[in-house]
């Protein structure tokens, strides 16, 4: 691909790709515990129809999925399987952590057998808090993930970098130009690039 050989891509093409990707997300349902039922209500029930958002909840295997929704308690016995299926997913891939147990251990924060947060195993893009979260909260998490995908700099991903938003890349470029011409500092660019942090539905810190 001549377009991405040098790790750059035209902005208009990136936007086209991103919009197409964000509205044809295939989600792999990793239902583990109580949240699996709420996830099933969000994905499989007529009231919270998720397909109107362009999310297809029925891939047969993680190899066909774009993002995984880890919902429920991840135990130490289950953790290797979570990691293995995450590694089977093709890039670009995203992860939603649903429920307090997957976020940080939840009510089992002092249990001997529970992994305190699935982010110890796989990188998480969106955290949905709640025990369990309502289906509406999961839908909001999916909408936020779509916005994140729309703003993603795909070229940076192809270069093997972490999530980089388009704004961050643009402001970095602008800052480089500014620095070259006016010899100014690049603090503003660093502030902008903080949008690569994971999203928490409803705000709040990531714990």
């Amino acid at each position: 691909m001549g377009l991405v050989a040098n790790g750059r891509m035209p902005a208009s093409l990136t936007k086209l790709f991103n919009i197409s990707r964000s509205y044809s997300l295939w989600v792999y349902q990793w239902g583990l515990a109580c949240c699996a039922i709420e996830m099933g209500a969000a994905f499989g029930s007529p009231r919270y129809d998720v397909m109107r958002l362009g999310v297809i909840p029925l891939p047969a295997s993680p190899r066909q999925a774009d993002f995984v929704c880890v919902s429920g308690t991840v135990t130490d016995k289950m953790a290797p399987a979570v990691k293995r299926l995450w590694e089977q997913m093709p890039e670009p891939k995203y992860a939603i952590s649903m429920g307090s147990c997957a976020n940080c251990g939840g009510p089992y924060w002092d249990s001997y057998s529970v992994t305190k947060g699935v982010d110890q195993i796989i990188p998480i893009d969106v955290y949905v808090p709640g025990c369990p979260p309502r289906p509406e909260a999961l839908l909001e998490g999916i909408v936020l993930l779509q916005q994140r995908i729309k703003n993603e700099d795909m070229a940076a991903k192809w270069r093997g970098e972490d999530y980089t938003s388009l704004q961050a890349t643009n402001s970095e470029r602008n800052a480089a130009k500014v620095a070259a011409s006016f010899d100014a500092d690049v603090e503003s660019a660093e502030q902008q690039s903080s949008s690569s942090d994971p999203i928490v539905v409803g705000g709040g810190p990531v714990e």
Binding site: A33, C34, T75, K77, M78, A81, S111, V114, P132
Partner: protein, 390 residues
Amino acid sequence: MTDLSDRQKLGYIASQAADARLNVELETEGMTLNIGPQHPATHGTLRIICRLDGEQVVWAEPSCGYMHRGYEKLTEVRTFPQVTTLVNRIDWLGSFANEVPFILAAEKLMEIEAPPRAQVIRTILFELSRIANVSLFLGDLGVQMGAITPVFIAFRDREYVLNLIESATGGRFHPNFDRIGGLKDDLPAGWIDETRQVMVKLREFCDIIEDLLFGNEIFQSRTRGIGIIPADIAKDYGLSGANLRASGVDYDLRRDQEIAMAWDKADFKVWTHPDGDSFARCWVRLQETRESCKIVEQLLDQIPAGPVMTKVPRIIKVPEGEAWVATENPLGVMGYYVVSKGDLGPFRVKIRTPSFNNISIVPWALKGVYVPDIITILASLYFILGDIDR
């Protein structure tokens, strides 16, 4: 070979086939089939290892522990009111039903009893959580056999029940509404009329499922006569709930024990089925949903006036002693053996969950069945992973 008669042709083919049999040993090859730990038919993270001979299972073993969260140990470091938050999440489809036996055990140790109004409301919420549990089973049953429609209907009608539970308790899934000595709150205004309307909808739901699923020829041919569990085997393995009643054993703790709940005020039938096959287990659960609607409708007329909470100290210390209370939960007999040393929290809690015993029959029930029947038998046994592993 063109001038041979049909008879001679057949003879020629037979001799060729006999030679082929001599040359090639026609044996089936053994194979290990691993189901899970993540599989839609296991309702979570159960792993089943099957040893197959061709298309038949010769050996099967469930491997649990993928959802072990250490409840029994965690209860030792929680106070008594905090334990209900934990035990809510054991059987996550019928959460309120998990709280009740523990609270009753604590009340037994403290020698108090909830007021009559609280007992009736408890029973109503208990039956509503049973409906929420079993309605999802009835919808999910179709998915296991390739029918997608019932699950949409089940999720649609389950929302009505969840709305009722939410408006009464504040929690959609995990109410955490039961307190030692009564209930947290009284029912909201207009709740009783709303419940009556929902019960009508749920009866319609049962009729739809019966038409759609139980009258379906494919469903019947995949469940009738498959996975038969005789009554004595069911008793030996400690099955309970609908799995036991589908084998013809008439045992229901709602009717058979004296307990501080309001089931004795309602007139209901305990359904049994003589066959003991997969169809019988599903059918008994369908009838139970209807009976639950009946119980709720009867109890709505009999809610007495009065408080919903007895007088309990602000800081609950349960006196020293041991108590065992079991109730008939959506999945079967669930019981708590609570040992208290007079502290704020329990010294030791043993939780008897129905699903753990119900899947202990899986090695016996899966022996000799064909591979497609594994899924229907597992679906009809109906377990929940939090209930197995705790």
